[in-house]
């Protein structure tokens, strides 16, 4: 009787440990000293960033600030140092966005650093898929699937 109880208990303990390990494995966020460390996924496109990684980590906001004024006030839309350029390369493959899931490129670091950004109140978090299509355009039929998809997104 006691032998059976012991073996049952042991079985239960094993099951619990396995479940706990499986749960811990599901938590993809790596941790350092108990605090979650940001997930930095390598950019889907391109070999390397427009500047050194270390420089970008410290100074991307300054580059974006300068470029934003040049774009808005003067109409200079070069892709280097533009937010659109960042998004084009760094959008996650899973969500297609830099800021819609908590592991997406921008959100992951910014939530770790507790820096709230309002870029995406106005800017799209997704790269441009197709150019805007006029429904009456002669080629509209061939890309109707894309247009519908975009219409769905815009609603």
């Amino acid at each position: 009787m006691t032998g059976k109880m012991k073996s049952l208990l042991a079985l239960g303990a094993v099951a619990l440990t396995t479940a706990a390990l499986a749960w811990a494995g599901a938590e993809a966020q790596p941790k350092a000293g108990g605090a979650p460390v940001p997930v930095i996924t390598k950019a889907a496109k391109g070999e390397h960033c427009v500047e050194d990684t270390a420089y970008m980590r410290r100074n991307h906001m300054k580059l974006l600030l300068v470029h934003r004024d040049r774009t808005v006030l003067q109409g200079i839309r070069t892709p280097k140092h533009s937010l659109k350029g960042c998004i084009d390369c760094h959008a996650s493959e899973a969500t297609g966005s830099v800021a819609s899931a908590k592991e997406d490129f921008c959100v992951s670091c910014h939530s770790y650093a507790a820096v709230k950004i309002d870029c995406f109140d106005c800017h799209s978090t997704k790269p441009q898929r197709t150019t805007a299509m006029n429904p009456s355009h002669p080629h509209a039929a061939s890309v109707s699937a894309n247009v519908e998809e975009m219409a769905g997104v815009s609603r």
Partner: protein, 258 residues
């Protein structure tokens, strides 16, 4: 018309530039269709160069060709710039509207006039005069814009605009914006003359393209400072009016047939 001539004198093309443009057009013309290439050479600006005051973008609306019941320009604008058409909006009375179709009727004769109304891109814009933060500004090439990074949403410009051209975004847009056209809650916005297309070198706007595609050709877009541009030629030939010309704002949008 007088204002236009004055402006051309203020910003003349240097003879060197003329020669260069001519030569470039000739070379390009050998390669492809001459007319098309000429047009592109005249409008293209290198990607890394700022907008220049040598150009003043403007629009000629021929109200005699604007069809009753057609709103292709409005649809094209909403598609290009990502704003929800007013009819589909949950709150139509406060929905942003960058361009709208108007139908005017003379009460005595019942004669009807159709025209699109949009930001008139004034040379002396009242919205810029009143903006307390400097967010409302006129770009070097004459396009009147809102810098959303400095706009505080006070709506003073909306009150100053005689054309009711500006709207405030009242509700969050939840990542439905177009990558080229950032817009957001709490900021004022209006027609930008499709500035993203201009900077790309398209040299036209979504509404003008849609109007041409519909076969009406009521909207002509181009450079008012270039005496050889299609719009300058048409403005020389046709009698045109500025809406509320009494305000002397020197508008970028001119109407024929009103």
């Amino acid at each position: 018309m007088n204002e236009l001539n004055t402006m051309t004198e203020q910003a003349p093309h240097s003879p060197e530039r003329r020669r260069f443009v001519g030569a470039a057009a000739a070379v390009a013309g050998l390669a492809v269709v001459p007319g098309v290439m000429l047009y592109e050479v005249a409008d293209a600006r290198p990607e890394d160069q700022p907008a220049s005051s040598a150009v003043r973008w403007g629009m000629l609306v021929d109200a005699t060709r604007c069809a009753s019941g057609c709103s292709d320009c409005v649809t094209a604008c909403s598609t290009e710039n990502g704003w929800t058409p007013v009819a589909q909006s949950e709150h139509p009375r406060q929905a942003p509207q960058w361009i709208r179709k108007l139908q005017l009727e003379d009460p005595l004769t019942q004669a009807q006039i159709n025209l699109p109304m949009l930001c008139q891109h004034c040379a002396e814009p009242p919205c810029v005069d009143v903006c307390p933060t400097g967010a409302s500004f006129k770009r070097a090439d004459g396009i009147v814009l809102v810098n959303r990074h400095t706009c505080i949403g006070c709506r003073y410009c909306m009150m100053a605009c005689p054309y009711k051209a500006r709207s405030l975004v009242h509700e969050p847009l939840n990542d439905t914006q177009k990558p080229d056209v950032p817009r957001g809650m709490g900021c004022v916005e209006a027609c930008t003359f499709c500035v993203q297309k201009i900077d790309r070198g398209d040299g036209t706007t979504a509404c003008a393209e849609a109007c041409a595609a519909a076969g009406h050709n009521a909207i002509l877009f181009g450079d008012l400072n270039d005496p050889e541009s299609e719009i300058s030629k048409r403005l020389r030939e046709l009698p045109t009016k500025q809406v509320r010309a009494d305000l002397k704002l020197n508008l970028g949008v001119r109407y024929h047939g009103i």
